[in-house]
Symmetry: C2
Subunit: 150 residues, 2 copies
DNA sequence: TTAAGTGCAAAAGCTTTGCGGGTAG
DNA sequence: CTACCCGCAAAGCTTTTGCACTTAA
């Protein structure tokens, strides 16, 4: 993600914080930056590790609390995945995911034809759809190469 | 799920076990039955609770191990979801999900037009797609009603 | 019979919570 | 000033592991 886009997102965060009576602390800013720099749908733990690499110590509790509140604010989203720890996605725009069933990696893809899919009517279920996402499930390159060796 | 369909799935499990040198133990059979009877993409813990309701005591470790190996065998699948514990799906056929962003509930839907989606070419990424699934994200009826109260 | 599976208990990993002290606005 | 936020540490979940005992085929 380029610097310009990152600045915009920080600006957006500043706005949302003001709007919701939250303080834009250095920790919050750093956590958002770390997520924006990750393209691998990181867990809280990986976000903390990325901060540590930059010599920023932020407590584990703060990382968890902050990511959760960012997701509530809509600055970032939660990625759906088959594993067992929450993963966050820096993207809030429409895109789709390749999900590796072996290593549980999640890879972003863009595809105009998928964006145009016909959203079914879910009103009779009382479910209000705000967005959609296509998951293409399969095996990633790395996992296939690993397999070939055995 | 009707009795006939359940029997077929147990038969399928027997086959797969034989094929992979696994023993079809009473625990494994009971765990599969419990998953087949659940329509809510249960966690390991909920599967164990369902067994307990039927007065079947199966250790936690066995439930975890077994669900994991069922998913590897392809008797059941793992559901992708935004939360923090693994959830299993009794369905192995193509279908789609409504995901509630508030309570993280996952609801199955069937839709022929979604089934007919144009799958993009991911070969240049080295990713081999075996299946796909559409996630419609939004807020479920229960969560909206809850919200209206406040 | 005997390889494979299970239960148990402990360890390991993930997430939340309560609280006292610190800080932005 | 004052509400909000952070770090810490402990508690609460979820999942895995090692090992001795049991059992299905």
């Amino acid at each position: 993600m380029d610097a310009r886009a990152k600045d915009l997102r920080i600006e957006q965060l500043r706005h949302l914080c003001r709007q919701h009576g939250l303080v834009l602390t250095p920790q919050r800013r750093a956590i958002l930056q770390a997520v924006l720099e990750a393209d691998d749908h990181p867990t809280a733990e990986r976000v903390q590790a990325a901060l540590a690499r930059r010599r920023l110590r932020v407590s584990r509790a703060t990382v968890f609390r902050t990511l959760e509140s960012f997701a509530r604010l809509g600055v970032i989203t939660k990625a759906c995945h088959p594993g067992s720890s929450v993963r966050y996605d820096r993207r809030t725009d429409r895109h789709h995911h390749l999900v590796c069933l072996r290593c549980e990696r999640v890879i972003d893809i863009q595809d105009a034809r998928l964006d145009a899919l016909p959203v079914p009517d879910t009103r009779r279920l009382g479910f209000v759809v705000s967005d959609f996402k296509v998951q293409l499930r399969g095996i990633c390159r790395e996992c296939r190469e690993q397999e070939d060796k055995t």
